[in-house]
Symmetry: none
Subunit: 404 residues, 2 copies
């Protein structure tokens, strides 16, 4: 019996509501003996933690640093080693493209090329969104035999590209990227990365498409070329409602997290990015769903910038506004992260993630502050992220007993 089969078999309805408050990259490393979370003044969370279950989570495996995709999939209970979601798919989902089984997606960078075809700017001077949209519109005039394609503006110089096979044509994601990752050199041709017929045909298609785009944009400036990365095939995965029976929504400001949420079948709510506005949105849609994924981005951004103080201040901002969430009386409130992003490390890391779970069915955590050091002694110990959804379901009365 696999995990999803078990959840599907045991799930039952309850009116209880579950809030996942995800502070992206929350986990940290100590500076003068204290991590970002331990440094932040968090009276609201510290008050909660004593009455809650609490602990730490390993997102994938010990030592494995997750990208946002695996980090969130694990939080949502999807084994990140089984459900590998390529970057191109996240881009397509991020622009709300209605992707289908078998589609091949990629990330597009508009770029500047010189007369010899060498890349002079990998971001085409970060063109504004309306220029991006105009370039996409031009590219849509291209015809490719046997293939339908879609190109959609993301933001600045970025767009999402989707190929759809006609007449049963199949693609492969085992093809190399065309982005040379530096300037002063030509774009790379895509090459098949395995021996399959599909990989060869897909690489040919990409190279043909690139040639057509170059011809189509040859008189444009600065965006007269494209770079393609993150080729990924879309395969449908079980939805949140199918696995858990939850009517879930996502309150996330950034396209990638919206993409991840829609991948698992959550409704994506239009929102500004920002603690106050996202919490206000939560209140607004409170009656319409029973699961709420609230994604706070800036803890991670400041971690990646190496800005310890700014990361601390985002944590404090969440803490100051937490009453807005608590006033809604969610039966289950979880405060956690998708992975750690220590400011000293300036990148995602493998270190376990802080976790707090509030419900009326909690043992007391036995600790008094919400910080990595204290959480080591919390009631949940160190669990795997993939186990969190089971706990959320149990604490909200949404799982029946297993077996007689």
């Amino acid at each position: 019996m696999d995990r999803f089969k078990l959840y599907k078999q045991l799930k039952q309805h309850s009116d209880d509501k579950i809030v996942f408050l995800v502070l992206d990259g929350l986990g940290g490393l100590p500076r003068n003996g204290k991590t970002e979370l331990e440094t932040a003044s968090t009276p609201a969370m510290d008050g909660l933690v004593a009455e809650c279950e609490a602990g730490l989570m390993v997102p994938v495996l010990r030592g494995i640093t997750p990208g946002s995709g695996p980090g969130h999939l694990a939080l949502f209970g999807y084994d990140p080693l089984e459900y590998a979601i390529g970057r191109g798919i996240l881009s397509a989902l991020g622009v709300k493209f209605p992707i289908r089984d078998g589609d091949l997606a990629a990330r597009v960078n508009f770029a500047s090329l010189d007369e010899n075809g060498n890349v002079t700017d990998r971001r085409a001077g970060r063109i504004p969104d309306d220029v991006n949209r105009a370039m996409c519109e031009k590219i849509r005039s291209i015809k490719l035999e046997g293939v339908e394609f879609f190109i959609e503006t993301e933001k600045d110089h970025r767009a999402a590209l989707i190929f759809r096979g006609l007449g049963g044509r199949k693609f492969s994601e085992a093809v190399s990227e065309t982005d040379p990752q530096k300037t002063g050199v030509p774009t790379l041709p895509s090459r098949p990365l395995d021996e399959s017929k599909e990989a060869k045909e897909t690489a040919d298609l990409i190279n043909r498409f690139f040639k057509e785009v170059k011809a189509c944009l040859k008189n444009e400036s600065p965006a007269n070329g494209i770079l393609l990365r993150g080729f990924a095939l879309y395969r449908q995965i079980p939805s949140f409602s199918e696995v858990y029976g939850l009517n879930a929504c996502a309150i996330a400001g950034y396209p990638m997290y919206r993409g991840l949420a829609s991948l698992v079948g959550m409704e994506v709510i239009e929102t500004e990015s920002g603690v106050e506005s996202q919490f206000a949105k939560l209140r607004e849609v409170w009656d319409d769903y029973d699961f709420f994924f609230v994604h706070i981005k800036y803890t991670d951004s400041f971690g990646e910038d190496g800005n310890f103080e700014a990361k601390v201040s985002v944590i404090e901002e969440v803490d100051r506004n937490l009453s807005a969430v608590l006033e809604l009386n969610p039966e289950v409130l979880i405060i956690t992260a998708d992975h750690s992003t220590p400011a000293s490390y300036k990148a995602h890391s493998w270190h376990p993630i802080p976790l707090l779970l509030k419900s009326k069915w909690c043992r007391s955590s036995g600790i008094k502050s919400f910080g990595e050091q204290a959480l080591l002694h919390g009631s949940l110990g160190i669990i795997n992220s993939i186990d969190l959804m089971g706990l959320a379901m149990a604490h909200s009365g949404k799982l029946q007993k297993y077996g007689a």
Copy 2:
């Protein structure tokens, strides 16, 4: 996606060096409330542990006592339930025999037999190595149809035997041993342990070989017979360099651990057994490798002898000399064991193993002494040995992020 596939996909080069300092059988049981490690005066390790990540490790599964093979394979990240390495293979590797896929290896004891073929001494009076070598030389004159064989002196009365099939001939390891495990009785014939043709043919071969050896040694004394144990087929396993991209060496004084190291593709460095000499050897080869497995044997030996004080004093000797390792500034230093060997238990045991991991990317362990009791509260909690390599790779910057 399995663990090795994941490591292979994510591995990247860094100049960081990793030291695995393995105190064989380090874990213990309390006497007057303190284990061997807790009793030992270890100011160096206690000083380290406060600034390190620390915890305990389960080598195989809770309750499973590993032999040296599974204990070390797990430390090296190889699932010991998947990669079962027979004792015969370890003997062959221990004498640096260039074993090949499909070879069948066994341990040999030279023994004394009386005129009726009954065993009178299972170790032939522990013959000196040069007598052992002379016997091996005699045995090499035997011819077996369809099979090549090799016999190599180990030490005292022990040797390694390897059969190699000619013309595609296949062996089975499902055959019984010929050692009766007591004196006054004849050696046992080998029997097939399953219904396969290979098992029957292999048992026949072993019995034929035994008869030839008996004839060949009939005028010798005291070693006029052999006992065969630990039949094992060799199957190549992924190398350390293939899985982790590491250029690894082993500084181990004892053949079995050298065999284990060479099994996973480590370079085996010639060294005397002894803390000071092994640490000096580490310094000598420091520039040539990026992973160093330093194996200290005597903690285990004294544990098996039931000599609590002597085990304590080996731990103290390592601690006194630890500065020789720290002066090399390894980016990652791990101090741990392959399994526990409590002096009171006088044998390997299943109890979790002490673990300390030093790098610049550590959360503080929150503890102040390196001992089983304190380690329960360490930052790593209780992990599986098989997870350690992932942590070592992460802390040394040798693993890329997983997924976008």
